[in-house]
Amino acid sequence: MIEIENLRKSYAGLPVVDIPALTMPQGGVTAIIGPNGAGKSTLLSLIGRLETPGGGGVFLDGENVRSFRSTDLAKRLAMLKQDNSLTARLTVADLVAFGRFPHCNGRPTDRDRAKVSEALELVRMTELKDRFLDELSGGQRQRAFIAMVLAQDTEYALFDEPLNSLDISHAVAVMRLLHSVARTMGKTIVVVLHDLNFVARYADHVIAMKAGRVVETAPASHAIREDLLKQLYDTDVAVSTRDGRTFVDVYG
């Protein structure tokens, strides 16, 4: 269980995250939504201890994430940032193998290799595994990074805008994959998303953020409603239901 207590973070005196208390829903896909600058990425970075909080803390099953040993936390919680530029030339297989680092400390066993192949298979990248990342399209790279997080095989996985630079079919495939991984393997997946239709279709829970604060935590079916989204984004949003499915029209 991920719990947040009095979590604060400021940049140059301006608060970007200020959350008195929040319990992340356990299991399933949780989408964090909100306008640019709402503090979504910073919140993920604080959970993944990439950033030091200005106050308060993030607790994983009661223990502060900052007091974990690095590899112990990485065995339980994985995270993919928004910007993944690398200076070194790595192949897809090399990259995905880094997901096994906390489990094998650089000396992969057969089990680690199996996990890597499995992850490559899940994102349909097996045929490209020996290609260098700089020889791939943006979408293929993104899938390689997602495979790395899957190979890490953690209870909790955080993704910051994983659908960036994916085409429609791969975006759908990735969301389906995350959804099914959460369902079948009982993992907790937290995703920052901008496309509200993906939220409506694939998220189980929604955390809505604005100006560093959590505005609402609710099941997705309850959170995707016009008054909340209008207030969140300061723009006209129409939510409709067709054949029992919810659609969000954001195009004004």
Partner: protein
């Protein structure tokens, strides 16, 4: 490139480079040798030891520095090591005079240079990285500025001193493999070996550092600690090599990029041994050419950059086809 093919290729390249090293080393020891073999071999053997130490430390520390700074176009000399060496030498001649400097105990000079360079870089690290900001860029930037400062001060002092003294000083400032004593060699070898072992243990974490800070932290690398250790290892190796032979970091970048080209995306346990062997080939080869073809007219740096530069351009042209 698949991992099995890469390991095979790495073994082949390492074997080739090692063979070249051995042939060139035998050449360096024996070509044109006249007189007592015992004397010739101990003289030339000592030179070979110095070359081996430098060929070990510089490519090694350059690769680590690239991993640490997440940038493959820098050399550790950007932190001002070379400039600091020049400044220390210049200050010595300026304050004491060339005669006094030349009668100083060379071991003392060696130890002094080592301590000054290590102290400088650790001070930079503590003040800028650990205390102020965790941004390696700030550290590098201040390193560059310090380097410029050291170079300017040294340049000013060099203009102020007597031209005769300046000639002596200039001679001391060119990298040379001829002057190191066995005591200095042993001390440098100890430092280089210990730091190599230390780095060896950290190779898996260093590999993961190629993911950048956030990527490395996400897979469970204690980034700040490994970064600190790596910085210390780089410092010790560069300081030991520079104190041994003078400013020599120039050839590291060349050798390491040759290695990156030959073995793209390889982990540290393959990249580093190959770059060390290529470094050895280049340095020993350059010394043979300098001694046997050029009759000591020039410096080993010139030869290294001439041959290495051509090799690198050929490789670039070849890889475009």
């Amino acid at each position: 490139m698949n991992p099995v093919a890469r390991v095979t290729r790495a073994r082949m390249l390492m074997g080739l480079a090692a063979a070249e090293c051995i042939v060139l080393a035998v050449g360096l020891l024996t070509i044109n040798a006249v007189g007592d073999w015992g004397f010739v071999l101990s003289l030339r053997g000592s030179k070979l030891v110095t070359i081996a130490l430098v060929a070990w430390a510089i490519p090694f520390s350059t690769v680590l520095f690239h991993t640490l700074s997440n940038n493959q176009i820098l050399t550790p000399s950007i932190m001002g090591f070379d400039a600091l060496f020049v400044l220390v030498q210049t200050l010595g001649v300026f304050i004491l005079g060339s005669v006094q400097v030349s009668i100083l105990d060379p071991h003392l000079v060696f130890a002094g240079e080592l301590v000054v360079m290590s102290a400088f870089s650790m001070a930079l690290y503590w003040l800028l990285y650990a205390r102020m900001s965790h941004a390696i860029e700030v550290l590098l930037l201040v390193g560059i500025i310090c380097g410029v400062l050291f170079r300017s001060v040294a340049g000013l002092l060099q203009r102020l001193i007597d031209p005769g003294e300046f000639l002596v000083l200039q001679d001391r400032l060119f990298a040379s493999f001829n002057s190191a004593s066995s005591g200095e060699q042993a001390c440098a070898a100890l430092i280089i070996c210990l730091s190599t072992l230390w780095a060896w243990v950290r190779f898996p974490s260093l590999d993961a550092m190629l993911l950048g800070r956030s990527g490395a932290v996400a897979v469970g690398v204690n980034y700040d600690r490994i970064a600190k250790e790596t910085f210390l290892i780089v410092t010790l190796q560069v300081a030991a090599a520079t104190a041994l032979v003078g400013p020599i970091t120039f050839f590291g970048l060349l050798v390491v990029h040759l290695t990156y080209r030959l073995l793209p995306g390889a982990p540290h346990r393959l990249t580093i041994p190959l770059s060390v062997l290529i470094g050895g080939t280049l340095l020993i080869g350059a010394q043979v050419i300098l001694e046997r073809l050029l009759g000591f007219l020039g410096t080993v740096g010139m030869v290294v950059e001439f041959i290495g530069g051509i090799a690198f351009i050929l490789l670039l042209i070849g890889s475009r086809k």
